[in-house]
């Protein structure tokens, strides 16, 4: 083992601190879309990962197109790609709700099976269109490398970018759900569907837009993750377990629960991983989660709805 100065040790601890925050932002961004769909509608969307992959592939397509037709715009395409991913995944989510999900609202367990089937279909479609091999969107230069506040501290720029994006999206979701008239409709529908209908809320339309919003946010997450991980037909399935873990642990119906849950899991995971092996860290995190869920089956923050 090398020998360290105090300064080196401090630097590593600072960087490790950022790893925890960075993982928090990744988990939160993954989980936001699912939290909206699962929390507000009670639909278990097993194809969530594939909607993320759809965002990632949209980014890849735009990267290729920009490089071919407008190489001088390479520095900016990524921002457009994020918006495009939101629109593509969101529109497809809208369609999915119309064709598939709306017929299954009274059979929540069947949505699980149907969306799982959808995820397989989407995976194979990615494979047929883009090939089985993984692809790599070319990242603009400003997203590469690291920021060095001192000589020995490296903060990954892509990590900071994901962090910023997560903050932006979370704020957007918060404003939309808790400060807008549409959000009021969504929350009303969640609490009492029949009564909401009776006072004139178009609950079907609310459902469709909520599902589309959740899928669109998954698309944004997919676009952002091309900077830190892989883009392949099955990349989405890498995220689905972690995503459900965050949402279930946080308490299904609460945005703050999702945030708190992502933060707790990220910190536990990254701190443990620094001291013990990764597999063991995962085991310990999951064990803790199970115990907490046994004590609080509703998750960290349960919604106070009269049952």
């Amino acid at each position: 083992m090398g020998d360290f100065s105090l300064q080196e040790l401090t630097s590593i601890l600072a960087m490790q601190g950022f790893v925890g925050i960075s993982l928090f932002s990744v988990l939160l961004l993954m989980a936001l879309g699912l939290a909206i769909i699962f929390g507000q509608m009670g639909v278990i969307n097993m194809a969530h990962g594939e909607f993320m992959a759809m965002g990632a592939y949209t980014t890849y397509l735009l990267s290729v197109m920009t490089q071919t037709y407008f190489p001088e715009l390479m520095n900016y395409y990524f921002l457009i790609a994020i918006v495009a991913s939101f629109i593509v995944a969101g529109s497809f989510g809208y369609l999915t709700e119309y064709v598939l999900i709306r017929h299954l609202y009274k059979r929540p367990l069947d949505t699980l099976l149907a969306t799982w089937g959808l995820s397989l279909i989407m995976q194979q479609s990615f494979r047929s269109f883009f090939g089985a091999r993984e692809v790599s969107p070319t990242l603009p230069d400003w997203l590469m490398g690291s920021w060095m506040p001192t000589d020995s501290i490296f903060i990954p720029i892509n990590g900071m970018f994901v962090l910023g994006l997560t903050g932006f999206v979370t704020l957007g979701v918060f404003l939309l759900m808790y400060r807008s008239a549409w959000g009021l409709n969504v929350r009303a529908t969640t609490q009492n569907r029949v009564m909401s209908g009776a006072v004139g809320i178009n609950t079907k339309r609310v459902d469709r837009l909520t599902f589309a919003l959740g899928c669109g946010i998954a698309g944004i997450a997919g676009a952002a993750f091309t900077t830190i991980a892989s883009t392949g037909p099955t990349s989405g399935s890498l995220y689905i377990v972690d995503t459900f873990m965050v949402v279930v642990f946080g308490g299904a119906a609460s945005l703050f629960g999702t945030i708190a849950s992502a933060f707790t899991i990220a910190q536990a995971q990254s701190i443990l991983e620094f001291f013990i092996s990764s597999s063991m860290a995962k085991v310990l995190t999951l064990l803790t989660l199970i115990i907490i869920l046994m004590i609080r089956p509703e998750g960290l923050f349960s919604s106070k709805v009269r049952k």
């Binding site: 089985a132 993984e134 692809v135 892509n158 995962k282």
Partner: protein, 416 residues
Amino acid sequence: MSYFSRRKFLGKTGALLSAMVAAGFITSTAMAADYPTAEVNTTGLAVTDDTVTVGILHSLTGTMAISETGAQEAEKLAIKQINESGGILGRQIKIIQEDGASDWPTFAEKSRKLLRNDKVAAVFGCWTSASRKAVLPIFEQENGILYYPTFYEGLEQSKNVIYTGQEATQQILAGLDWVAEEKGAKTYFLIGSDYIWPRTSMKIARIHIEKVLGGQVVGEEYKPLGDTQFGSIINRIRLRKPDVIFAAVVGGSNVAWFKQLNAAGITSKNQTLLTLSVTEDEVLGIGGENLEGFYSVMKYFQSLDNPNNVEFVKAFKEMHGADSVIGDVTQAAYLGPWLWKAAVEKAGSFDIDKIVEVSRTGEIELDTAPEGYVKLHPNHHLWSKTRIGQWNRDGQATVVFESDLIEPNPFPEGYQ
């Protein structure tokens, strides 16, 4: 073109083999008649007077399709070339392709179908060790023969399998020797995905580093398959300050690992990294800019500069597209049909037992392999050279070191 490649193949193959096949070449049309079906096929395989049927068994769907695509493309190319040059014992090769679907029981079921119903004369296929282990009992039971292309952990030798990739010691020991000598490495950090191949490989690596090279392993880490967060491990690596990172991370994790390493400021400018699990195929997903300057240890790189390889790369791109890439396993898969052809012609028979018998003489060799001369060892593995490639931004590697031919040793004593 077919005439040329056939001549070239013949010209360089062993004297006995050349003489035998050349005789057939002169009377090309009469050749199948020289080998009556009743004589070359005594066990009821799918061999007729003018065709012989083989199986290709790879994953075309599911998570392994990423890796197995190249392998089956190369096998088809080799079979096409063999057919164009007159086939095998005067017979054209027909292919039955089955999809293993990244699912090990499916591999077993399809291999049983190929061997029992289709009676194929040989099977080219499998990629993961798990799929090979799943089909192995069936090949032994039905007495078929499998040409397996992937570099793997060793510790296996079956009568019914020919291993055309490297076993662990061929790849690892030469790589570690090079990095110890060339980079003066003393301390090593081992990292891999958490399953049998990386764990077996790292066990061999650790013993070699500690007992033979007199170095020190300062960390050994395994990441669950599919994990995409490497931040904490990267900080542990900083804490240990290893001279070399020795990596065997696979799949989607591999992409995340290199992207995050680069973003964290660990690049070839300040760190030596040698990996067992990056070929030209993986670079497509990882991005050349994230790998620039790091090293891979493999037996084959697409950039190898020899006439065989130049022709192979050209033919492969003609058949499968100009932007396709060729990795180590793809090349090893390409050897399968050619090695089978050499064995069949030497045995003068399609019978599995006779093919195995000549394969065990240690005299089956290929001069035309893209990787250079290879020879089949009686233990069913190939003698091959190990090379170190340094990655460039464009996704191709510059070969910086080439070993002598290394004897395959699937059961290395003192390394288990």
